[in-house]
Amino acid sequence: MTSLRGLIHKEWLHIRRDRRTAAVLVALPVVQVLLFGYAIRTDVDDVRLAVVDPAPDSATIALRNRFASAGVFRNVAVVRRTEELEPLFGSGVAQQAIVFYPGFAQDLGQGVPAKLLIITDATEPNTASLLQSYAQAVVDGYVRSLPASHARPAPAPRIVPQVRMRFNPTHESSNLFVPGLIAFVLTIISSLMTAISLTREKETGTMEALLVSPLRPWEIIVGKVTPYLAIGFVSVVAVLIEARLVFHVPLRGSVVLLLFEGGLYILVSLAFGILISARTSSQRLAMMGTLLATMLPNVLLSGFIFPVESMPRALQLLAYAIPGRWFVTIARGIMLKGVGLEYLWPQTLFLASIAAVLLTASVRSFNERLE
């Protein structure tokens, strides 16, 4: 036990002496969450709209004004011919276009259906469907505002949805992405920290010394992980405060539970870093491997940006093995929904099991090296 304490103390001295690295380790997550919190959003509130109006008349002007005053549309071009749209769409100057046909007001006046075409740049389907429903809403509003002679002879039945966005009523992007970002940034920082500490021992040859010392493999790992667990924990607290103060992300559930889960998650990431650096021979391979294995899968499979539910079945199963996926669910659950362990125990259990498996595996790989 004293030897274990000695190792922890040694590791702690390393950190304290290298203040710059320690500062970087704590500050980086804060800076990244700040940057990405403003960058990772999916709100659509500025639509670049082009208008094709071959023969402007009172009705087309009225509808155009409705688009202009809707708040989300910004008119970037008014052209006379549909062909002129091509370069606007191609270069991305316009995202959406409304196309009028000559005689719009006249048709409306005579009760002939007036033609209107809405073209949307659908390269990104998600934004496209939102844009379409925005435009549709503006047109619907216009139709309803028309005098009765224009409208249908009898009122058509309407089913009006009353929508309540639960857990995030303002539909604020940062509420969704900041809890996810915390998971993402922590993974990277944590695997980085263990990589630093282990490869340094390897480089300086002191790893051999540790291995022949009376320390047992699990003691080496505990000694290595504990100080970094503490630093990681400080990062978690810093990032949570930032989420609260800068992005006004609510924290509806228990802070203690969130901190506990954060600690558990950091433990998983640290163990993963240890396993990788203990298993690989050359630095180059280890680094390429870690990078390819963690960076994109963590963005894409954790549900941090893309909902896991939308993925094909096989990938959903694969996502079970991604610790970030569980932490994202837990963090959102506690922060946005205010739920506790009574709903989150399965996720916590998964996270704990992954931690157990990874720690066992890294102790094992240390054992092998001893022989």
Partner: protein, 382 residues
């Protein structure tokens, strides 16, 4: 010229001999492209919903069967009270609760307006907005069917419905999605992920390469040879540059054969831009390697730069949604411009005129970063 050739040859031998590295560089990205393109989707299929039908009439049941039949939704449970729905939402296995109030049919018949409550789990990322708009579509469609009397239900109810015969509205609105008519998310993601993978591999390999020579001490040996700085850098980067283009080709083949992504624009144009882009990516790597001492440092710096580049490139979330000041920051991000160009050429069939602006920025970045990197790299022992 011959010097460059020899050094390049040495470099190629290094790469080819390291089988594991070669596999990592060529196979892993293809596998990632195959897997991750499936993950990056906001498409809604089988979204679990919970129905609370308090009305229990012919019309309300018709609405429920419409929701069930449309393919976007999967009804996990239908209960007569809203409590269970709420619980499912807290647990996270229900994405939307549809509450049909008691007087739904009556109100629809009497006033022509029926209200339905949609409780959407907005925690489910940006999919929440889509779920809501799909639900609204189904409601609209159902209302129209009721109006047009195509449903036997309408005839059965006969005179109790006071809606007039189907009439065309005052407007005939047609909607046309351009470029991605089938709204296939993979067609959007594959050209982007391709760029992401090229960036990771290119920047990382070049950053590590020179750092490794530094560590091994072989850089000193090269420094005392008569080779010039420019020659050295060209010889170092050339193999990775070719590797990057090979990567692009592999990715394109996979994209077209497996995901059926459209290739509407000119492929030579794409390769031309990729050639310029790769010099930027490799140049950044080179610059990093000249700043650091060890492979490890090279790795960390690359790691952070690449993460920032990728997350702020519009690859995963649209540039247009970012905060205005972040949007201006992304102008200096080469990944952003190549992602834009790659999507424009492949999906929109854009020609040189449409991509001129981002291309110009890329070209300027290439010149800038190479100049900086060459200046930074000194043939000195220190």
């Amino acid at each position: 010229m011959r010097r460059i050739l020899y050094l390049t040859q040495a470099e190629v031998l290094h790469i080819v001999r390291d089988r594991i590295l070669l596999a990592q560089v060529l196979i892993v990205p293809v596998v990632q492209l195959l897997i991750l393109s499936n993950a990056a989707t906001f498409e809604i299929h089988n979204t679990p919903i919970h129905i609370v039908d308090l009305d229990r009439t012919v019309v309300s049941r018709g609405l429920v069967s419409h929701l069930a039949a449309n393919g976007h939704f999967r009804i996990v449970e239908a209960t007569p009270s809203a409590d269970r729905g709420d619980e499912g939402m807290s647990r996270g296995n229900v994405s939307m609760v549809v509450v049909i109030p008691r007087d739904f049919e009556a109100s629809l018949v009497r006033t022509g307006v029926g209200r339905v409550q949609l409780l959407v789990n907005a925690e489910k990322g940006s999919a929440a907005g889509i779920v809501q708009s799909y639900a609204a579509q189904v409601l609209n469609q159902y209302a129209n069917e009721l109006a047009s009397g195509r449903r036997p239900l309408y005839q059965a109810l006969g005179d109790s419905m006071r809606w007039g015969p189907p009439s065309s509205g005052p407007l005939e609105v047609r909607v046309r999605p351009r470029y991605n008519e089938t709204q296939n998310y993979k067609h959007y993601m594959v050209p982007g992920i391709l760029v992401g993978l090229m960036t990771i591999i290119g920047t990382l390999l070049s950053a590590q390469n020179i750092a490794r020579e530094k560590e091994l001490g072989t850089l000193e040996q090269l420094n005392v040879t008569p080779i010039t700085r420019g020659q050295f850098i060209i010889a170092k980067l050339l193999p990775f540059w070719v590797l990057g283009l090979v990567e692009l080709s592999l990715g394109l083949v996979v994209g077209v054969l497996v995901f059926g992504i459209p290739v509407r624009g000119s492929v030579p144009l794409l390769y031309g831009v990729a050639a310029i882009y790769l010099t930027v990516a490799l140049g950044i790597g080179l610059w990093i390697s000249s700043l650091v001492e060890t492979q490890q440092q090279a790795m960390f710096v690359t790691f952070f730069i690449v993460i920032i580049y990728l997350l702020m490139s519009g690859l995963f979330t649209p540039i247009d949604s970012m905060a205005p000041w972040v949007r201006s920051v992304t102008e200096v991000n080469p990944v952003r411009h190549f992602v834009t160009i790659s999507r424009a050429i492949l999906m929109k069939g854009a020609g040189p005129a449409e991509i001129a602006q981002p291309f110009l920025i890329l070209a300027v970045s290439a010149l800038g970063i190479l100049t900086v990197a060459v200046r930074q790299y000194r043939k000195s022992a220190s």
